[in-house]
């Protein structure tokens, strides 16, 4: 019996509703919705506004906050999606960038079509929804930085760094909005997260953040770090001087992360610059941290003797922040790319926090139920992804502070971190 040839039928793929893929032909026509949101202005907030709103919380204000977040998030997402849409086609088609574009589009569609919140129960569901989106986007930082670095030959370095910076600042702002609201909901419900100081915080903001304590905490964590062989290491001493009891209102993570990253670098380069002869432990010069309580800002200066910038590939400290390989060759080093790829594919991604860089034992969290978490944490603490400095700068600039590095070539590096302390500065997002 001769096999019959089945007639092949061709038909255009049907457009699927709501969560249509960005690769569908209809994606172009669905952009109308995006443009509607992109044409709205974002409302940047100040720390004071976030605190003020969060005090005297009640159910009515909480619902108000929920709907504010619900309507503001898609606007901020839309602006960044528009940014991506103006980039060269070849850049956004690049595997990693495309993945982020897809994630953003999906988040946009789902937040804009989320129904209004009227009750506490609605809000609980909304908080769950927010948490899901936050988790889904855990890998955005390494994915985006990998994608942009790989596309850097198609993009002028200034443009690349500007777009990436805008994406990352906006990301922080959306996370602040979402996490602050979730925290406010939890505190109203009496569900305080374990270990928080009840009196001194509003949502995710610490109203009496002790900068000196924060620095000492980071030093403690770093001194416990082990080398690649699992053995302990000799790390330099840290001396803190200046206005040691400086306290101000800030989001703890935004202070802790830059300090952690800067000290991590100082420790690493001090060790590299002072190897020990033979097998005896090295004598390492200390790292000097100066804390200054200025009228409008808090300054933290970290001075190390790690040799400063001696690489011929880096012309000035500002190149360290660049994701373009034209300004910073290390962006395309093969071990860097491999590490980023691995980080991007991890479920927990890389969220630019201190917590994720610690081995689980330090958390005191006994759950080790998930496979690979321990390896993940070890890996996270050791691989040099090159995002510590750019992210630190972005955290610092988020409420219009700054991070400035000056090298005394051959001797060491001075890092100047400045954070506004009055809470009056607005978020540095593109409206």
């Amino acid at each position: 019996m001769r096999p019959t040839r089945r007639a092949l039928t061709f038909s255009l793929p049907q457009p699927t509703p709501s969560t249509s893929s960005t690769r569908a032909p209809t994606h172009f026509y669905r952009n109308r919705q995006l443009e509607l949101y992109a044409s709205k202005k974002s409302k940047p907030l100040s720390l004071r506004q976030l605190i003020f709103f969060g005090r005297s919380m009640n159910e009515e204000r909480l619902i108000k906050s929920a709907n504010y977040v619900r309507t503001e998030l898609p606007v901020r997402l839309a602006h960044r999606i528009r940014d991506l849409q103006t980039l060269p086609f070849v850049v956004v088609r690049q595997e990693q960038v495309a993945k982020v574009y897809e994630l953003y589009w999906s988040a946009f569609e789902r937040t804009r079509s989320y129904p209004p919140i009227h009750t506490r129960a609605d809000n609980d569901r909304f908080c769950g929804f927010l948490q899901t989106i936050l988790d889904e986007h855990a890998s955005v930082i390494p994915t985006l930085s990998l994608g942009f670095s790989l596309s850097s030959q198609h993009l002028d370095p200034e443009l690349l760094d500007t777009v990436l910076r805008r994406m990352l600042v906006s990301r922080i702002s959306r996370r602040v909005l979402a996490q602050h609201h979730v925290a406010l909901s939890a505190s109203l419900a009496g569900r305080e997260p374990p270990g928080s100081e009840k009196a001194d915080h509003v949502g995710i903001i610490s109203t009496n953040l002790d900068a000196g304590e924060c620095i000492r905490h980071c030093v403690e964590l770093l001194r416990q770090r082990r080398g690649a062989d699992g053995q302990g290491r000799v790390w330099p001493e840290v001396h803190i001087d200046g206005d040691r009891d400086t306290k101000f209102a800030y989001i703890r993570e935004h202070l802790e992360y830059p300090i952690f990253e800067l000290l991590k670098n100082s420790f690493r380069f001090t060790r590299l610059a002072h190897p020990s002869p033979g097998s005896s432990p090295p004598t390492l010069p200390p790292v000097q941290v100066t804390l200054v309580n200025s009228p409008t800002d808090v300054h933290i200066r970290i001075s190390d003797q790690g040799g400063g910038l001696t690489s011929a590939d880096i012309n000035s400290p500002s190149d360290l922040y660049s994701f373009s390989h034209l300004r910073n060759k290390a962006r395309l080093a093969s071990d860097r790319l491999a590490a980023l790829k691995q980080a991007a594919s991890r479920r927990h991604g890389v969220m630019a926090t201190v917590k994720e860089q610690l081995a689980p034992a330090a958390d005191g969290d006994g759950s080790g139920g998930e496979t690979g978490v321990e390896e993940d944490a070890e890996l996270a603490s050791r691989t040099h992804l090159g995002i510590g400095l750019p992210m630190s700068k972005i955290y610092a600039e988020y409420f219009r502070g700054g991070l400035h590095l000056v090298s005394l070539d051959g001797y060491g590096l001075d890092a100047y971190l400045r954070l506004p302390k009055l809470g009056t500065m607005l978020e540095d997002i593109e409206v």
């Binding site: 200046g242 206005d243 100066t290 200054v292 309580n293 200025s294 009228p295 409008t296 800002d297 300054h299 200066r301 400063g308 001696t310 400035h404 000056v406 005394l408 070539d409 051959g410 001797y411 060491g412 001075d414 100047y416």
Partner: protein, 424 residues
């Protein structure tokens, strides 16, 4: 080595005339003067045989004679391009006259063919250099009076280029003078104006000694000094440049530290106050091509409001600002004594014009720096000038302030034997 401008073209200039605007207009500069100055490059400054030979000195004389006239012409051209009303200002006009005199004198020079002739040439060259000693105070006073006729940007641009050109011109002149002198007594390690084994630590101690005395005598108290890092480093540089940069920066740090400590002394209880002002710390570092240093003080820093103006030239300051801005506020134009026509002011003259600590601090460094660089210190031009000197050979100067605590100044200087092919 002939200059790009022929002697005849330069001679086409009118003979000395009173520098009234009418006369200047009647004698427009010849078109040949539109050519840029003959570029002299750094390597030629360093290509000096050890010990120096008579032939080389004669070669240097020829180099000097060809390099200087076009530079003078360029300065004259720049002055002539200033707005009319600025050119009419007596100080600017005086400067114009000094440059024209210099060009006339140089144009009259015959080629130097023997060491005897060189001696005469060197004497006249020294006179020329001396006649320009007060260029910067004169310019400063002139531009201060012309504040409303030129934008700060335009004045800054003019001053930047005028001072940079002056640095190069002095360098060329001083180089020849130094080489001629060293025929008589050779200094090992010195090649004309460049000292090959310049020790920053020694220079720091030298400058700090002077600044310390000054600070103590005017304010009653002075901080100590700590020098650390690679303090034994040496590099090839021009000692007078290094001396100027260091003195200016140490002056700022010492004064800020003393004043901040004194201000606190009146505010906080004695038990809390440190027994003496905290020291100024200078950290040295050396890489293959550069010598870097960091001057760190605890002088209270600079307020954000003033931070934007510290590198601008002093002419924009109103008289009262000094009190508000603290030690680093733009200093009023000092150096009054230097503005009188005639020979450099004697040591007593600065004291006459100085009454406030600010004025004394402004004026006094001029007496020490005068020997190398003329009266350039003491005008509130300290930081912009220091930066011009630091960047002249491709170095850098950067300032970071922690308001309420102190200031860090970073200076990076190229070691001249790794000479970049820098144009002077």
């Amino acid at each position: 080595m002939r200059s790009l401008l022929s002697r005849s073209a330069l001679l086409a200039l009118p003979a000395r005339t009173p520098y009234a605007p009418a006369a200047a207009a009647a004698a427009p500069t010849p078109t040949r003067m539109a050519l840029p100055p003959a570029p002299l490059r750094l390597p030629s400054l360093l290509d000096v045989p050890h010990p120096v030979t008579p032939q080389y000195v004669l070669h240097s004389a020829a180099l000097t004679l060809s390099a200087l006239p076009p530079r003078m012409a360029a300065r004259i051209r720049a002055l002539e391009s200033l707005p009319y009303i600025v050119g009419v200002n007596p100080f600017i006009s005086r400067l114009y006259g000094i440059y024209k005199d210099s060009l006339d004198a140089l144009v009259r020079e015959q080629p130097v063919r023997s060491l005897d002739e060189n001696e005469g040439f060197v004497r006249r060259l020294q006179g020329l250099v001396e006649s320009h000693a007060n260029d910067i105070p004169i310019m400063a006073k002139g531009f201060q009076e012309c504040k409303r006729y030129m934008t700060p940007t335009a004045v800054s641009a003019f001053l930047d280029s005028a001072i940079r050109s002056r640095i190069g011109t002095r360098l060329i002149g001083e180089q020849h003078i130094a080489l001629s002198r060293s025929l008589a007594h050779h200094t090992p390690g010195q090649a004309g104006v460049v000292q090959r084994n310049c020790s920053p630590k020694e220079m720091i101690r030298h400058c700090a000694g002077f600044v310390h005395e000054l600070c103590e005598s005017t304010l009653g108290v002075a901080p100590g000094l700590v020098v650390d890092g690679m303090d034994d480093a040496t590099f090839a540089y021009i000692p007078t440049h290094l001396e100027y940069i260091l003195t200016e920066l140490l002056k700022n740090s010492y004064r800020a530290t003393a004043e901040h400590w004194l201000a606190n002394a009146s505010r906080v209880p004695a038990s809390v106050l440190p027994p003496s002002p905290p020291p100024v710390t200078v950290t040295l570092s050396r890489t293959r091509d550069f010598l870097s240093l960091r001057i760190r003080d605890r002088g209270g820093g600079i307020s954000p409001a003033h931070l934007g103006s510290i590198f601008s030239y002093a002419f924009t300051t109103a008289a009262g600002d000094e009190a508000d801005g603290g030690p680093y506020a733009l200093q009023h134009v000092g150096g009054q004594a230097a503005l009188d026509a005639g020979p450099p002011a004697s040591a007593s003259a600065p004291a006459a014009s100085a009454s406030t600590p600010a004025a004394v601090f402004s004026d006094i460094s001029s007496t020490v720096i005068r020997s190398g660089l003329g009266t350039i210190a003491g005008l509130g031009y300290g930081l912009p000038l220091a930066r011009l000197y630091a960047t002249y050979f491709g170095g850098n100067l950067e300032l970071v302030s922690l308001y309420g605590h102190g200031t860090d100044v970073f200076v990076k200087l190229r070691s001249l034997e790794r000479g970049a092919d820098v144009e002077l």
